[in-house]
């Protein structure tokens, strides 16, 4: 579940304790300085907001899928909690007629929370299926709409189903003295929440979700099924949100439809984006900053400077310092941050990661150089593949065979169908007819992630790295997939692969910071770390100078040999292709027009014609 105990468990635990201590310590310090029930209340609700915001962060931060609806989950949990936790006597006045004997049930708050989590999870599963069906992706509008609909359905039901919810006016209210008396449960939940959020982000599942957040297609090509990871993140996040909502109702002492609606959505989202939605530390920073800003605005709004004992008579600021200022501040914070700092104050900076880097000694460079892995002979066969895009036939009966102990080239002019053929083989384009198999395994129309797990791994023409992850993390993602789905013998260690790719010095840099040649090397290394039977390389030298291309020959040969994979490579650079390939296929107009050794293909008249164009009708 956790790739490295020290990095993924030990440090997050330490980080959690520090974050918890900072937030709670800061809150307690504030209420000690302020004395008075109002500041206690403020600090308590900040702790509960922190739980809620981290709950939302677990989903949005890890998957990049934007959800409006988490507060809607909160509404469901909040009402469920209230229905079970409120004593019958307090319910009798409002919802005596409630069906299913709900007016008479009463469990303790703990049981009520458990029931609330259960009910909310059921709804979350339904929403999760919906999100998966609609193809929710990082940045897709469909997810926004579905989650928004959840928020509104929950709100409407709360308003209209008066017999159970008490409707818009009455709501559900705890009896006097029945509400949350001590902060201890909040502390426990807060501590647990920070820990869960940090551990999830470091877990296999969390890492796969990050990969899909960075690049959905590349994640699939590396054997990850993003839907599974997104659903896991959703369920974890909803559990936290449901507990937070129960605590909030318990603390407030009543629930009305407005408690979990637009205002709370805005508040929690502002808290999430101000600090940085991609990190738990950021979420907590946002909670603290916004709570402080809001309280400051409230006091300035109601009392002016005098709230702070400063008299600035004669400075006319009444037009700013008036009731309603906090909401304006929230609105301004949201718009302002979106314009000037959409990734928040600290983006994806994480306290425990920073601590670990500070305390780290130099990593030992792997001492074992990777040896060539034994090659087995498996055939990759495409038979009579036809692909139509609308009226355009991109592939017209292409046939090709490559064996895993050779390097095969695929050349042809622009538009010949080379990339389409690789797309068909890797499940990214559906063929009209034709078959693809690897060894005995039929891969025709299999989903991309299963094809990758079966050992057919590709790179992309226009680099698709997980750009905000580091070099090592990029390689680690596919290594994690390989460790579960590929035979152990085919999978060398992460550091060995990074080193073999010549990226050792760059291992802790973000992929987005690499220069072009190193980006290409990383893409190759990431694919190789999957321990594939076949590497499909789509223009590995495009954009490279002649010298770099030649160097790439060594690089590709080396990587293929250490993982024991065959190579099918598309390229335009004949120096590169003839230098590296045992055999070449030439494609034109969607069909193979020539195949053979590099020399044979280069001498072929048809190939020359395909590249230079037919002679005109003179």
């Amino acid at each position: 579940m956790f790739p490295e105990l020290r990095r993924d468990v030990a440090f997050p635990v330490v980080g959690t304790l520090v974050l918890f201590a900072l937030l709670v310590g800061g809150g307690l310090l504030y209420s000690a300085l302020q004395d008075g029930a109002a500041s206690d209340k403020l600090v308590t609700s900040m702790f509960i907001d922190a739980i809620m915001v981290i709950g939302i962060q677990i989903y949005i931060g890890n998957t990049g899928v934007f959800s409006f609806g988490h507060v809607g989950f909160g509404a469901i949990a909040g009402y469920t909690f209230a229905l079970f936790a409120i004593a019958p006597a307090a319910k009798a006045t409002r919802i005596a007629e409630a069906p299913f004997g709900l007016a008479d049930v009463s469990t303790g708050p703990v049981t009520a929370t458990v029931i609330a989590v259960g009910v909310t999870l059921v709804i979350a599963v339904i929403v999760g299926i919906g999100l998966a069906r609609s193809g929710a992706r990082s940045g897709a509008v469909a997810a926004t709409v579905i989650t928004l609909a959840l928020l509104f359905v929950a709100h409407e039901v709360a308003r209209s189903w008066v017999a159970v919810t008490g409707g818009d006016r009455a709501g559900l209210t705890f009896g006097i003295g029945d509400t949350l008396g001590s902060r201890m449960p909040i502390y426990l939940v807060l501590l647990a929440t920070i820990l869960v959020a940090r551990l999830f982000a470091q877990s296999r599942s969390g890492r796969f979700a990050h990969a899909a957040r960075e690049d959905d297609l590349a994640a699939r090509a590396m054997g990850i099924n993003p839907t599974v990871q997104q659903t896991v993140a959703l369920l974890v996040s909803v559990v936290v949100v449901a507990v937070a909502a129960s605590l909030r109702v318990y603390e407030v002492g009543s629930i009305l439809p407005g408690l979990f609606f637009f205002n709370y959505t805005l508040l929690t989202l502002v808290m999430l984006v101000v600090g940085g939605r991609n990190s738990v530390s950021g979420a907590l920073l946002g909670v603290a900053v916004i709570t402080a800003a809001r309280e400051l605005a409230r006091r300035l709004g109601s009392e002016g400077y005098e709230a702070f004992g400063v008299g600035l008579d004669g400075v006319p600021l009444d037009w700013i310092f008036r009731e309603g200022l906090p909401r304006v501040v929230l609105g301004l914070a949201m718009v302002g941050f979106m314009i000037w700092r959409p990734n928040g104050l600290i983006d994806d900076w994480e306290l425990d990661g920073w601590l670990r880097n500070r305390l780290r000694r130099a990593d030992p460079r792997p001492t074992t150089r990777l040896e060539a892995a034994p090659k087995t002979r498996t055939e990759l066969v495409a038979t009579d593949v036809i692909v139509d895009f609308g009226g355009f036939r991109a592939l017209d009966g292409a046939d090709m065979v490559a064996a895993s102990d050779e390097i095969v080239g695929l050349i042809g002019p622009n538009g010949a169908g080379k990339t389409t053929l690789v797309n068909v083989m890797t499940g990214m384009v559906e063929p009209s007819t034709g078959k693809v198999r690897l060894g005995e395994k039929d891969l025709t129309r299999a989903p991309s992630h299963e094809i990758a797990r079966a050992g057919l791994v590709r790179t992309f023409q226009n680099l698709r790295l997980f750009s905000s992850l580091t070099v090592r993390e990029n390689v680690e993602i596919s290594w994690l997939v390989a460790s579960r789905h590929r035979p152990a013998s085919a999978v060398p260690g992460i550091d060995e692969i990074v080193d073999a790719a010549g990226l050792w010095e760059h291992r802790d840099r973000r992929a987005s910071e690499l220069d072009y040649g190193n980006s290409r090397r990383l893409e190759l290394a990431r694919a190789a770390a999957l321990g594939p039977t076949f590497l499909l390389l789509d223009e590995p030298t495009s954009g490279m100078s002649d010298e770099e291309s030649l160097e790439m020959i060594t690089q590709v040969r080396h990587m293929a040999s250490v993982v024991g994979a065959g190579v099918l490579v598309i390229d335009h650079d004949l120096n590169f292709i003839t230098g590296i390939c045992d055999r070449i296929y030439c494609l034109d107009q969607g069909a193979v027009i020539a195949s053979g050794t590099p020399d044979e293909v280069q001498a072929d008249a048809q190939v020359r014609a395909a590249y230079l164009g037919s002679m005109g009708p003179t």
Partner: protein, 237 residues
Amino acid sequence: MLLETTGLTTRYGSISALRDVSLSVGAGEVVGLIGPNGAGKTTLLGTVAGLLRPAAGTVRFDGADMTGKAPDRMLRAGLALVPEHRRIFVDLTVVENLKIGGITLPPAQRPALLEEMAELFPVLRDKWDTAAGYLSGGEAQQLAIARALMSKPRLLMMDEPSLGLAPVLVDVVFELISTLRDQGCTMLVVEQNANRMLEVADRAYVLRSGALVAAGTGPELLARDGLFDTFVGGTAE
């Protein structure tokens, strides 16, 4: 020279897609730009047209320095681009596509120009009010060219006009280039179909790995030993 680039270098992030390219096109000339996929041809046209900003070098058009000017400025100066993959507006009708092409001209000039296009492209006239998405590949390519001509360009740049067309339609496109040439239209044409391009061009440049590797008239380049090798890099020079 109508168009002159000196030392043009363009990068995508850290990739140098174009390195130190200097070329020129004189008024009335038809100049070809050939080379394999990924050579930087599209980048070159994009940089000249103002879609991409060069990292170094200059673009001079009709004597004026136009380096880094926005595409609509370039268009107003008289430089039109027929983009790769045509990029016609499929939801708009044929005539609406043409009107968009002439959006920078005074409205009074448009009817006459539309008439001219109808004459030059009879296939389009028959489909004047058809949504452009229903055109065949060849028709769509002609529309893309006609749309660019609607701005009365002094230099017409085309990016792979024969891409993805059946051979018989490729003939149509090259005939069209010849016709335009005979009318005195100045053109800079990116093509992969080198043989055909060299037939209709006055001169051509060969681009590979982002740099110019050869230049000359059609016969010169065709006569040269190993155009194929120069082209795809079979032998490094």
